[in-house]
């Protein structure tokens, strides 16, 4: 597989606190890689290191195969764009002026493309209004537009939907999907809002206590989810007997409810239970969520 970003044994300490502890990551080209972890897990520290804002204490990372300590890593960084924590925009400038400023920083020969960028992030009608007067969602979109100056093919977004209203969340989600699908931009996105991330990501990395504890593609994740059926019956003893005969894994929850961990033939089960004088009152199919999978991996009891 072709990777945009890999790392080996990345470690970063802040005083006595170890923010990253030998972290290794693999971000496939063309993916939307969701970096999942609770607050303080090390997501932002990892992003700061990758963006060159901080230096690792040990370990190394590669962007498009270039090692972070290589002299020419700067040239590779031109292929990157990032929004780290808060959008990096001049609050006293309009959206267009902000983009012009970033074009100058990049040394772009002309301002061609700015109108297109503003349209892409839906700020083409913002006019001369200063970014300081923008809503959080508008500022976030402007931050992404600034990160997109210079046509990067690797975009890093740190908690891009934090604090946004539902409409803002939908806008950012659609924008990220558009960038990935239409512009083929690889996106590394960190979030602790798992439900939202599950609507976007093609790959996941679960980070906990500075370590990457699991990397999994969305397809693998789907297969890994345990599917179950909650059955409400009149007699769980009869149900247990029947399920034992069928060789199916289950768990009795109370006198009338049981959780069955398999795909079952409902007619077959209903007939078998009917012979034992047991009625099925209801059947409810459950699917494990990304959230429960994450909690299984990192241990829910520690989660605050």
């Amino acid at each position: 597989m072709d990777f945009v970003l890999t790392s080996q044994g990345l470690t970063k300490n802040y005083g006595k606190f170890r923010a990253l502890d030998g972290l290794s990551i693999h971000v496939p080209n063309g993916s939307i890689y969701g970096l999942i972890g609770r607050n303080g897990a090390g997501k932002t520290t990892l992003i700061r290191l990758i963006c060159g804002l901080q230096e690792p204490d040990s370990g190394e990372y590669f962007i498009y195969g270039k090692r972070n300590s290589d002299a020419d890593i700067s040239a590779i960084r031109k292929r990157m764009g990032a929004v780290v924590e808060t959008p990096s925009v001049y609050l006293g400038m309009s959206a267009e002026e902000n983009l012009k400023m970033q074009y100058r920083v990049l040394g772009m020969p002309s301002f061609d493309g700015i109108r297109e960028l503003l349209k892409l992030v839906d700020l083409d009608k913002a006019g001369r209004k200063h970014a300081g007067h923008f809503s959080l969602g508008m500022r976030q979109r402007l931050g992404i537009a600034v990160a997109l100056c210079g046509n990067p093919d690797f975009l890093i977004l740190d908690e891009p939907i934090n604090g946004l209203d539902p409409q803002g969340i939908i806008e950012i989600r659609e924008l990220i999907l558009k960038l990935n699908r239409e512009r083929k931009i690889t996106v590394l996105i960190s979030s602790h809002i798992l439900e939202e991330l599950s609507k976007l990501a093609t790959h996941y990395g679960i980070i906990d206590s500075g370590k990457l504890v699991k990397e999994i593609s969305s397809r693998e994740l789907e297969n890994a989810f345990r599917k179950s059926v909650t059955a409400e019956v009149t007699n769980t003893s009869a149900l247990a007997e029947t399920l034992d005969k069928m060789g199916v894994e289950y768990k009795i929850l109370d006198e009338t409810h049981a959780e069955i961990y398999a795909k079952i033939n409902v007619t077959e089960l209903a007939l078998a239970l009917s012979e034992k004088g047991c009625d099925i009152i209801s059947l409810h199919e459950n699917e494990e969520s990304l959230e429960s999978y994450f909690l299984d991996i990192v241990g829910g009891d520690n989660n605050d």
Binding site: C51, Q54, E55, K78, V84, T86, S88, Y90, V105, G107
Partner: protein
């Protein structure tokens, strides 16, 4: 580096703080120009005018320059941190050394523009008074000296601004340093103007020399007068250089080092240290 400089300059020259400082310097310089012209006219009318009279009034605004530079440099540098935009420069691969130097050159360019406005006022005052005792070279030396101490001030402010990530603290600390250096400058100058009689011993031909016990203090004051931008500013108002002052009190200096050379060395030293520290700084 050129790209950064272009971006930084365009941001500085659209900064309200910078234009307010530059405009204030220009207005003050015009006011002082009229004051100088009236002062000289009065001296001519009363017959006590002589060459070089009132020049200290013409350059009286020199100490203010450092304060204006602290204001616009601190605001300019602090904004990059408060808005987080310094991250945009690093993320796309600009080296920290280039980011630092571009900021220094930009602040210096702002300072130089302010000096130009100030000198326009001075020259206007001289022309208006009808007295142009100072030759082109004298004015040029003063102008270069002003550029020199402004570079030192900018180096100090950029050092503070690049290492402190808070705009308010950057501006406040820059102003405090300017005030502190100005007070230090006046104190050092005061040491030469009000020499304690106990520090003198009789010399040859009824002259007086500095006592050996006080030489160390005056040599230190002499070095600081050369190195501190505020001392250079204060000496700018005087006809004498610090070398002349030291010679007058019997501390003969065998050579003359132009202020602008000292300023360039001090600026380079502060900048080298600042770049080294900024390279290791964690940006948040």
């Amino acid at each position: 580096m050129i790209k950064l400089l272009r971006a930084d300059l365009s941001r500085l020259f659209r900064s309200k703080t910078f234009w307010l400082c530059a405009a204030a310097m220009f207005v003050l310089s015009v006011v002082m120009a009229f004051d100088y012209a009236n002062y000289v006219r009065e001296a001519i009318e009363n017959g006590y005018y002589q060459a070089g009279f009132g020049e200290e009034r013409a350059f009286i605004l020199a100490p203010v320059l450092g304060g204006f530079a602290a204001l616009f440099s601190g605001t300019f540098l602090g904004t990059d941190y408060s808005c987080g935009t310094i991250r945009n420069k690093i993320i796309i691969g600009h080296s920290r050394r280039n980011i630092y130097l571009a900021n220094l050159f930009t602040c210096f360019a702002g300072g130089a523009a302010t000096i130009v406005l100030w000198f326009i006022g001075i020259i206007f005052g001289m022309i208006y008074s009808g007295i142009l005792d100072m030759g082109f070279w004298d004015i040029l030396v003063k102008f270069l000296t002003a550029l020199g101490f402004t570079a030192v001030f900018c180096a100090v402010y950029v050092f503070i601004g690049m290492l402190i990530s808070n705009r308010t603290v950057t501006v406040a600390l820059s102003l405090v340093i300017w005030i502190g250096l100005t007070i230090a400058g006046y104190c050092i100058l005061g040491e030469f103007e009000n020499i304690n009689p106990d520090d003198f011993v009789p010399g040859e031909n009824d002259s007086f020399m500095i006592a050996d016990s006080a030489k160390g203090k005056f040599i230190l004051c002499g070095i600081l007068s050369k190195v501190l931008p505020t001392c250079q500013m204060l000496f700018m108002q005087s006809e004498n250089s610090i070398e002349d002052v030291l010679n007058n009190i019997g501390l003969s200096v065998g050579f003359y080092l132009p202020d602008i050379v000292v300023s360039a060395l001090v600026t380079a030293a502060i900048t080298a240290l600042g770049v080294c520290i900024f390279r290791k700084k964690d940006i948040r």
